[in-house]
């Protein structure tokens, strides 16, 4: 594990046509953080994620991981430097089994994707099963990913993200589609991973119980702009946040 695990985001901007999807977003993420990115629909959360992992290029701003600039790098390079991600709409390899999905990431980590001889299903199988056990999916390791329930897919996504041995983990709605008790379970698991591995996690979430129950800090976006950042308590008390969520009564 590297000493720092520090993601510095400075003044990120991105527009689509005339719409400012993300405008002036800055924050710092450090080992042990569990930062919740919240805001109403269309606030720019997913765009923010896509800017951080290189899927979109910001119009302006910088993203530095332990001092190294990430803006301009393709997603696979950013991943290789230690920024893992899960997707809002789950994207697993549907034609492979659960274990094989995780094995793919382990193979990628080990730079062995161009192997032409040894069967892939025999590579890193034990490691994959260990990771699946960690997220409670080991019993379904040999099922095709295409037939899994949504909540289970989310767990596979987490195992895949962990397989990349990330320093920073970006989780886009990690508990969407899960039953309430499953949500709390997954977030508890995430919190313990943060402690164990010294991870820094940025996540989006609609369920405020999850946000205020687990986040160490909260960043609120509204129409692309950051309007509040701080501890859950301070954000909960913020008048502007209340007006955004409850309607403008001022």
């Amino acid at each position: 594990m590297s000493a720092a695990n520090r993601l510095e985001v400075r003044d990120l901007h991105r527009s689509f046509g005339g719409v400012r999807a993300v405008s002036g977003v800055s924050f710092t993420l450090e080992s042990g953080d569990l930062l919740a990115l919240i805001g109403p629909n269309g606030a720019g959360k997913s765009t923010c994620f896509n800017l951080l992992n290189g899927q979109l290029r910001p119009d302006a701003g910088s993203v530095r991981l332990d001092g190294a600039e990430l803006v301009g790098l393709p997603p696979r390079r950013i991943w290789a430097l230690g920024v893992g991600r899960t997707f809002q709409i789950t994207a697993t390899f549907a034609s492979m089994t659960v274990a094989e999905n995780v094995q793919m990431v382990l193979l990628s980590r080990a730079r062995r994707l161009f192997g032409l001889w040894r069967p892939a299903s025999a590579c890193f199988r034990d490691e994959a099963l260990a990771l699946l056990a960690r997220v409670g999916m080991d019993a379904q390791a040999d099922r095709p990913c295409g037939v899994l329930a949504y909540g289970d897919l989310k767990r596979v996504e987490l195992a895949m993200a962990l397989a990349g041995d990330p320093k920073i983990l970006l989780m886009d709605e990690p508990t969407a589609g899960m039953a309430p008790f499953e949500r709390l379970e997954l977030m508890a698991l995430t919190a313990s991973l943060v402690r164990e591995r010294g991870l820094a996690v940025l996540f989006t979430e609609h369920d405020m119980d999850v946000v205020f129950g687990h986040a160490t800090r909260v960043l609120v976006l509204d129409r692309g702009r950051p309007i509040a950042e701080g501890t859950p308590e301070s954000v909960r008390a913020d008048a502007r946040v209340q007006s955004v969520y409850l309607g403008d009564e001022a």
């Binding site: 696979r76 991943w79 997707f87 994207a91 697993t92 034609s95 793919m104 990628s108 192997g115 001889w117």
Partner: protein, 614 residues
């Protein structure tokens, strides 16, 4: 100066015809999202119908033009019929099925035309009232061509009015933008699509009928024009009318002046132009990005499993095949040799389609390049067979490596069109570079040395090499490389976000598949003793696709079974009838509509069903 002007004018006349045909293609694509191979056939039928009608009624000006219009309407009616009978069932299918299904129609119509009008070229009557030529800066220029030049913009204008000033046209535009939304608004999509196919095919038929006074009507018109129209539509941006117009003008000029500068490689110029445009402007000159990516075959992709005892089964099959020469005669061995070669060709294509989700429409290029690589070494350098056979996969692999670099930059239909373009480039170089390749005379006298000249000896050699190559391909499919390829197909986004360089895997797969196809080509050359440009023409690419589809896309053994059955059908059944194209076309259509999972997939389903009941 005046010469250049006349050249430019004749380029404009070419452009007018090109625009008529490609406007139809692009309208049909815009609404149905299907690249209609049969579009060229409607052009050809328009020409044949036009020829018959003009012969009969075309002595006067009125009769001539009525005949042209009637021919266009006839082609349109056939297009509408195809929509109702075939396309309607394919709108939700993967693009491979759509391309192949419409290609099946091409084959059927080819034989139908040959049966009705014969295989001789037909020379039509000149257009009454437009027979002469006018002097332009002292150079004669045909009056009829001048009329065509005016017709292009006129048709563009009429189409613009149709799409912008009528209710029907507005509905078509709405459906082009968003099919689901249009049907949610109460538009009956079935009728709309039938109408669009009518319009598009009628435009093709009009283009064809207008050729009657200019050139001989023949059975090769369909493929020639459809490939050019593809280029126009892709360059202009798929679905864009103005783009098609612009691209027609550019390509008309490119052809008119290309023939002056590089008479040897005019055909290549057009395809090179398309490749460059696609790499620089991915969606063509006037095209927009697709909102919904083309249907990926991932939806019907179950996990790839080796299957229990697959290794033993393969060993047993190999042993049985190796023993065949002890009992079979020479003819059976020849058929079997070809079957084994085609199995390798099909398996190499399957690597791209089945694992990578990359539908190549030009795989024959690498087969042909391998064959020519071997044959040229023998002819020009007197190379011994082992050396020539070693060179075959190398030559094809290098060719595929170069083409692949361009092709993997695009996906879906654009990938298919790019591979088609590169195959046409390779084909036209071979066809036109007479001094080196012998042009359409091919290269003859490419026989194995005495030790391998016996049918049994050559069969064993082929079996050994192909089995080895197949084993390697299979190994690669189950190795991390094959998995990474599938990962990129299942979800390119996810693959990139876990460090998989999807494009590089696809590129390598393209080269690997190309060189395997090249080895098959090299073996084919020595088995036949000769090579011809037809080896790398579109029909061979389609044959390979049919083999893969026949066997089933999602099984590793599928392509082998497909190749065997296809070759048996072709060698033993279809050649018995004069109308083998018709038969093959119907087989393709039936496959696409009734057995989309192919033979092995179908059997696997039946077995799984039985197991479930037991």
């Amino acid at each position: 100066m005046s010469f250049l002007l006349v050249q430019a004018l004749s380029g404009l006349a070419t452009a007018a015809t090109l625009f008529l045909v490609s406007s139809g293609l692009t309208i049909v694509f815009g609404v149905t999202r299907i690249v209609n191979f049969a579009h060229g056939s409607f052009y050809m039928l328009g020409a044949y119908l036009g020829w018959s009608l003009v012969e009969r009624f075309g002595t006067g000006v009125g009769g001539f033009w009525a005949s042209v219009v009637a021919a266009a309407l006839g082609a349109g009616a056939l297009g509408a019929l195809m929509e109702v009978a075939l396309l309607r069932r394919l709108y939700r299918s993967p693009e491979l099925f759509q391309l192949l299904g419409t290609f099946g129609v091409v084959l059927v119509l080819q034989d139908a035309a040959s049966w009705i009008w014969g295989s001789e070229d037909l020379l039509g009557r000149r257009a009454p009232g437009l027979k002469g030529s006018v002097e332009i800066l002292g150079q004669p220029f045909p009056l009829y061509d001048l009329m065509l030049i005016g017709l292009g913009p006129l048709v563009l204008g009429l189409l613009w009015l149709l799409f912008n000033r009528t209710r029907w046209g507005t509905l078509v535009r709405a459906a082009t933008q968003d099919r689901d939304m249009a049907s949610a608004l109460g538009v009956d999509p079935a009728r709309l699509f039938t109408g669009v196919l009518f319009l598009g095919s009628a435009l093709a038929g009009l283009g064809g009928a207008l050729q009657v006074p200019r050139e001989a009507v023949n059975l090769h018109m369909d493929m020639a024009i459809v490939v050019e129209a593809f280029v126009v539509v892709v360059v202009g941006g798929m679905g864009s009318l103005t783009g098609a117009f612009l691209a027609s003008l550019l390509i008309g000029q490119l052809q008119a002046f290309g023939i002056l500068v590089f008479p040897q490689i005019t055909l290549v110029l057009v395809f090179l132009f398309m490749a460059v445009v696609l790499v620089l402007r991915p969606h063509g000159l006037m095209g927009r990005a697709e909102e919904t990516p083309p249907t990926a075959p991932a939806a019907l992709a179950p996990p790839l499993t080796a299957g229990r005892g697959a290794g033993w089964g393969a060993a047993l099959l190999l042993a049985a095949l190796a023993l065949v020469p002890l009992v079979a005669g020479d003819y059976a061995l020849i058929v079997l040799t070809e079957m084994v070669i085609l199995a390798l060709l099909a398996a190499s294509l399957h690597l791209l389609i089945g694992l990578g989700g990359l539908v190549s429409f030009g795989h024959a290029a690498w087969f042909g390049l391998g064959a020519y690589g071997a044959a040229l070494l023998v002819k020009h350098l007197g190379a011994p067979m082992p050396l020539a056979l070693a060179a075959a996969p190398l030559v094809a692999g290098i060719g595929a490596l170069i083409a692949g670099w361009f092709c993997v930059r695009r996906s879906g239909l654009y990938f298919a069109m790019l591979t088609l373009a590169f195959a046409q480039i390779v084909w036209s170089v071979t066809f036109q570079w007479y001094g080196f390749t012998g042009g359409d005379n091919g290269i003859v006298g490419v026989w194995p040395p005495p030790w391998a000249a016996g049918k049994a000896a050559y069969y064993w050699l082929t079996l050994g090499l192909c089995a080895g190559a197949l084993a390697l391909l299979r190994r690669a499919a189950f190795a991390p490389f094959g998995y990474a390829l599938r990962a990129g197909r299942d979800s390119a986004l996810r693959a990139e976000s876990v460090g998989i360089d999807v494009r590089r895997h696809q590129w390598l797969a393209f080269a690997l598949a190309g060189s395997a196809a090249g080895l098959a080509g090299g073996l084919y050359a020595f088995s036949k003793g000769s090579v011809f440009p037809t080896l790398m023409a579109v029909p061979v690419s389609v044959d390979a696709l049919v083999m893969v589809l026949m066997g089933g896309i999602q099984t590793v053994a599928g392509p082998l079974a497909g190749a065997a059955v296809f070759h048996l059908l072709e060698a033993e059944v279809m050649r018995m009838t004069e109308l083998w194209r018709l038969a093959l076309g119907l087989v393709i259509v039936a496959l696409v509509l009734l057995f989309p999972k192919g033979i092995v997939g179908f059997l696997a389903d039946v077995l799984a069903d039985r197991r479930r009941r037991a």
